[in-house]
């Protein structure tokens, strides 16, 4: 007799089946709900910071530590609890097994283990904002402050541990899934770009997260067990932490960037009805190149903290070099649109915005890569606007595009409403209003991370505009999330393959797929491709 509980699939909602589920689709939906919740709370923190900066002097802040706590939660939750779980958790979980024709991931119980590590990490993060000694060390946790602060550094460390463990197990799970569970006949050059980018992201997670785990563990030891890893007075080294931290946290940018690009390829190829331009160059040169170089650029986060020149110059070269593989990927994105009759649905609108974000974000990255310029731009709002464009907003839009594009797959209903378009325009106008002023005042001397900028009264107008933009964005997001909930319950019924895609998740699985995904197991022939639009 089988010992695992197996219940029959009923129509309707069964709470026990959801909580104890090991099914990749339900785990994917749970990742989406958890990461959007984290996004909402972290977004509130951003609004509070923007409101505080709207005018000179204190608006409603009590002590500077409040600002540090908002900054801590905003950064840590957006990156670790929204973007990474939203892309490699939600999107990879739900769609990767469907795209390769697999009934589930290789280790469904380990997958359930990962989602619960993620949820308990969120619980811990939420506990840490209500306790009296909230961590106030931003998402980076630099010593010596993280060691000497009265804030609870241990909750930060354990949040990172839980999320990191979750991602490492996810990496093991998905690497094995893609290697061993592709539909019979599916060769490596027939994979969706999203499968490739997810694979690349998980390789990076597998190799680099452990180093972050080591870094924060040593932080914990230093603060609570009295070790001296980061204490120069006793033979330790403060820069050691920064090196270990950025050794993971720079590749983490690619962990987020790569699946976001993968989602873009799925949407763009489908809406343009074109095969992916330069597929092999994009995969092996672009994505492979990012994985190969991504681990050798972390020192550019330490340009101004004191590094020997020869290291700075070497890392400047590798940082500039990474624009070559990124350029190959972007070329494939634009090439896929060549001579296409493009369908502009909401997912595609977000992807067009992403083409703009990657352009502005990428170009503003070039001066920051150069040591001579970065010395002046570092710690100004220019860098703040740069990484919000290329990383924050770009990847956030990828999550939104993924939800709109696959909404019919997940719910059997459409989410492409007029409201959704209004939400998009508000959001897009808002982000430009927020971050262009910051791009402008950064080189003029506006520092980042200041809650009060009384010494720079000339920037007040820019900050007012940025704050208005932040609230426009929030309004757009609120309309969007309201629309998702409404459409999931009572949206227009979707046809089986609303975008006429050729990818397996649309052509072979029902909306939404049941247990085991496919009604019959799938095999593909040598001539098949998920982007087979020209036959």
């Amino acid at each position: 007799m089988s010992t695992a509980t197996s219940t029959h699939a009923d129509e309707g909602f069964n709470l026990k089946e959801w909580i104890f589920t090991t099914d990749h689709k339900r785990i994917g939906v749970m990742y989406l709900i958890g990461s959007i919740a984290a996004f909402a709370v972290a977004g509130m923190m951003a609004l509070m910071m923007r409101l505080e900066q709207a005018q000179l002097g204190a608006q409603f802040i009590e002590t500077g530590t409040d600002y540090n706590e908002w900054l801590y939660f905003h950064g840590a939750a957006m990156i670790l609890a929204f973007l990474i779980p939203g892309l490699t958790g939600f999107a990879a979980n739900y769609f990767l097994p469907l795209m390769i024709g697999a009934p589930d991931v290789a280790f469904p119980r380990i997958n359930a283990f990962s989602i619960w590590l993620f949820y308990f990490a969120i619980i811990l993060a939420l506990i840490s904002i209500v306790i009296p000694d909230t961590p106030d060390i931003m998402w980076t946790g630099y010593p010596p402050y993280a060691v000497t602060t009265a804030g609870n550094t241990s909750f930060y460390v354990f949040t990172v541990h839980l999320l990191g463990f979750s991602s490492i197990l996810g990496a093991v799970n998905f690497l094995v899934t893609v290697i061993y569970m592709r539909a019979p006949g599916m060769g490596w050059n027939q994979l969706n770009v999203f499968v490739w980018t997810t694979l690349a992201a998980f390789v990076l997670q597998l190799v680099f997260i452990p180093v972050l785990a080591a870094a924060v563990t040593l932080l914990l030891f230093d603060k609570y067990l009295g070790t001296h890893f980061f204490n120069p007075a006793a033979g330790g080294d403060v820069l050691l932490y920064q090196n270990l931290f950025w050794f993971y946290s720079h590749p983490a940018v690619y962990v987020i960037f790569l699946p976001a690009v993968g989602i873009m390829f799925e949407v763009i190829a489908t809406m343009a009805k074109n095969p992916v331009f330069n597929y092999k160059v994009c995969i092996y040169g672009g994505i492979g190149g990012i994985v190969a170089i991504g681990g050798e650029v972390w020192i550019h986060h330490l340009y101004v903290t004191g590094m020997p020149d020869w290291i700075r110059i070497g890392m400047m070269i590798s940082t500039l070099l990474i624009s070559v593989p990124v350029g190959l990927v972007v070329m494939s994105l634009w090439g896929t649109l060549w001579r296409a009759a493009i369908t502009y649905n909401v997912a595609m609108m977000y992807c067009v915005a992403m083409l703009y974000l990657i352009m502005v974000g990428g170009l503003t990255g070039i001066p920051l890569a150069m040591t001579s310029l970065t010395v002046h731009l570092s710690e100004t709002s220019f860098i703040h606007a740069h990484f919000h464009f290329i990383m924050g907003l770009f990847s956030t839009y990828a999550v939104f595009a993924a939800v709109y594009y696959w909404f019919p797959k997940m719910t059997g209903r459409m989410a492409d409403t007029g409201m959704a378009k209004i939400g998009f325009y508000l959001n897009f106008a808002g982000i430009n209003l927020t971050f262009w002023p910051l791009f402008i005042i950064g080189p003029q001397g506006m520092p980042r991370r200041y809650w009060n900028y009384e010494m720079f009264p000339q920037f007040e107008g820019y900050h007012e505009v940025a704050t208005v933009g932040a609230f426009l964005t929030a309004a757009g997001v609120a309309i969007m999330i309201y629309g998702w909930i409404k459409c999931a319950i009572s949206g227009e019924k979707a046809p089986a393959n609303p975008w006429n895609s050729r990818s397996l998740e649309w052509t072979h699985a029902p909306n939404p797929p049941g247990p085991g995904n496919f009604t019959e197991s799938v095999t593909v022939s040598a001539g098949w491709s998920p982007y087979d639009y020209h036959k």
Binding site: S2, T3, T5, S6, T7, A9, F20, T22, R26, P103, A106, F107, P108, R109, I110, A112, F113, W116, F120, L124, S154, F155, I168, L169, V172, V176, I179, Y180, P184, L206, V207, I209, P210, V211, A213, A214, L218, D222, Y224, G226, T227, H228, F229, G235, G236, D237, L240, L244, F247, R502, P515, G516, F518, T519, E520, S521, V522, T523, V524, W528
Partner: protein, 260 residues
């Protein structure tokens, strides 16, 4: 449609009719959450006895229940793809290698920047005989585990149990040596707070010892069903490969921490 003709439908053997569930992962995570973040913070951060007792008191039984249920399910369930766990474990070990690399890199950085002032003031003479004895014990346990695997391949379940128990005893002896060594050093005033070397010493050897402990726990999880005559080949191979990995790491620990 051209796609339809190129993508053939084959027999419906993989179609499943119900949603798979298991409570083991949730219970295990809840246990880890109570034991590690709550228990640790209760003891070291808030120095609150009640919080520590609640954390550990709920955490340990939840972990044991989760592991027991998981092992039981794993023994009686077929994987979707037979034998993939044997591939999954080495991939996981890659990340383990990197966490040890992170720790060793920290140690090397401190060690190299100290130049000739090493070991720093306050370090007593570290006995190098104990780590050699420990090396012999750990290598022997790897060998006995290999013998156990061979016995299992020859369908000799009694022999497998016997050699597995010997490996567990050797592993326990190894941990006993660690405890003895720590007690001795702490008695001499060499504690994690002492200096940079003691920080690295306790972090790295302690982290390795925790891996030995996990390996031993895995062996016990293999042994309990094996005593009733139930073994899962993939599970045994994984436990054994993990043990060999922990053994190999020990060579780095000994050579870097004790003999450099």
């Amino acid at each position: 449609m051209s796609v339809e003709s190129e993508v053939a439908h084959t027999g419906g053997t993989q179609h499943e009719h119900h949603w798979e569930t298991s409570w083991a992962p949730l219970v295990l995570v809840a246990g880890i959450f109570m034991l590690v973040p709550i228990g640790f913070s209760g003891y070291f951060v808030y120095e609150n006895q009640m919080m520590t007792i609640i954390g550990a008191g709920l955490g340990v039984p939840l972990i044991l229940a989760g592991v027991a249920k998981w092992v039981q399910e794993g023994m009686s369930h077929e994987n979707l793809v037979v034998g993939v766990s044997i591939v999954g474990l080495p991939i996981f070990i890659v990340s383990e290698i990197f966490i040890f690399l992170g720790l060793f890199a920290s140690y090397w950085m401190m060690r190299l920047s100290a130049g000739n002032n090493w070991p720093p003031e306050g370090t007593p003479d570290i006995n190098t005989t104990i780590p050699l004895i420990m090396t012999v014990i750990l290598v022997s346990s790897s060998l006995t585990m290999h013998v156990a695997e061979v016995k299992l391949d020859n369908k000799d379940n009694g022999g497998f149990n016997k050699w597995l128990i010997i490996s567990i005893l050797l592993g326990t002896l190894f941990l006993g040596c660690t405890v003895y060594e720590y007690q001795h050093l702490i008695h001499e005033g060499f504690v994690p707070e002492t200096n940079a070397y003691s920080s690295a010493f306790y972090s790295i050897t302690g982290f390795h010892a925790s891996h030995v402990f996990i390996g031993l726990a895995t062996f016990v999880a293999v042994l309990i069903p094996a005593l009733k005559g139930k073994t899962n080949h993939a599970f045994v191979v994984c436990a054994s490969v993990y043990w060999h990995f922990v053994d190999v790491v020990w060579f780095f620990v000994v050579s870097q921490i004790y003999f450099w």
